[in-house]
Amino acid sequence: MKDKDAVFNRTLLDRLYQYACVLTKEPHEAYDLLQASLEKYLKLSEKERTLSIKNAEAFIKKIIRNHFIDTLRSSHAHLLELYDEHAMSDLECRDLESVVIDRIHLESIWNQLEFQAREILYYWAVMGNTAAEIATILDVPRGTVLSRLHRIKKRLQERSGAKDPKERDHRGGIKGGIQ
């Protein structure tokens, strides 16, 4: 029971809650999702736990993600992927490093992004993962992560209406990094 108890500290639970918030966008839904996932985790037998849990945080995040996707299945619209989902792109996480944006723009874009895109931004910005690491965590090809990054970049561009970032520097919105 030692590993199971280790999960129940404030810091880790907050981190799991933050991840659930990234997926759902709604604090109440995030809490319900976290509670249901923790219950599932706690009910695992000792044997299952030993076989499958090397990193409890990553494991519970996977439970949270699967549970979230299950609840979305009835509404296939959420899972629709755009047509260029698997298109290759040479964009890397580091291309987003220099992007500057104001909070209001971020809030607006965040609410319009699909959960897959928010999840990638979470692993990149909060957990500090690279595209290759994100691909491993999410169990998707690296090309998929890159094309989603490309889409995020496009969204940022569309939202700001910036064709030439240098022109927008004095008006706020997005500048730098976006070519």
């Binding site: 639970l13 918030c21 109440h28 509404s75 910005a125 909060v126 990094g177």
Partner: protein, 237 residues
């Protein structure tokens, strides 16, 4: 006030924390599940001991059955308690959720208005040109719905269908129909209505009035009709 995208996302995500009440509830959940696991383990051990010691397989099976039955009853009682507790918490949080839902709804309407107004202003080229709805319907082979002619007229003006193109609303693939309305152009966006995604919107089949809003100088109306979410956009005269 602009900031690096990475820093802003970090701040946004890390600012979300469990309240003390939520944390306490999760700790209670942990204790509850742990106790249930311990009890189940003890019972399993009891059953194994009885089976090994007596040598009477028939009695051991009966004991096993009785213990499983008691465990099932205990689990049902625990489940009932959890459901009851959850229901009470939900009742307590209902007013707060209502306020949150209203503000979320306003946000959805605002987001749809902005997205549609932006698309209306862009007036991207039509992918199919026809004044007949049936031809336009035949064009949209990738949609899982059939675009309709709305019964709601654009500001009571005579309007004629010009054509259509694919587009999206809130990430959902949609049909955009373009009309000549008076001296200007009107666009009508159609997408399957999903209350979970778009919230509770006025349904004109029930006699509701559409939501009217303005965004980027464009008049936007939002309503539900025949199971579709319809959004019209027209320049303000």
């Amino acid at each position: 006030m602009s900031d690096h995208l990475k820093d802003l996302i970090q701040k946004k995500v890390i600012s979300q924390k469990l309240s003390d009440n939520q944390f306490d509830t999760l700790m209670t959940l942990k204790e509850g599940v742990r106790q249930a696991c311990h009890q189940a383990q003890r019972r399993d051990q009891e059953i194994e001991g009885q089976t090994d010691g007596s040598g009477d397989k028939g009695r051991a099976l009966m004991n096993q059955f009785a213990l499983r039955w008691r465990r099932a009853v205990a689990a049902s009682v625990a489940l009932f308690a959890v459901i009851g507790g959850t229901f009470m918490i939900q009742q307590y949080q209902k007013p707060l959720r209502h306020v949150s839902q209203l503000s979320e709804q306003a946000g959805v309407v605002e987001a749809i208005s902005q997205e549609v107004a932006k698309n209306h202003i862009k007036m991207k080229p039509l992918e199919v040109r026809s004044s007949k709805l049936s031809e336009v319907q035949r064009y949209f082979t990738m949609l899982d719905f059939s675009p309709i002619e709305s019964t709601l007229r654009f500001a009571d003006q005579a309007h004629a269908l010009l054509g259509a193109r694919y587009c999206s609303i809130r990430g959902v693939t949609a049909a955009q129909l373009r009309y000549q309305a008076g001296s200007g152009l009107s666009t009508l966006y159609e997408v399957p209505y999903d209350a979970a995604l778009f919230g509770d919107l006025p349904n004109i089949d029930r006699g509701d009035e559409p939501i009217q809003s303005y965004s980027k100088g464009v008049s936007v109306k939002i309503w539900v009709e025949k199971g579709l979410l319809l959004v019209s956009a027209q320049n303000v005269d």
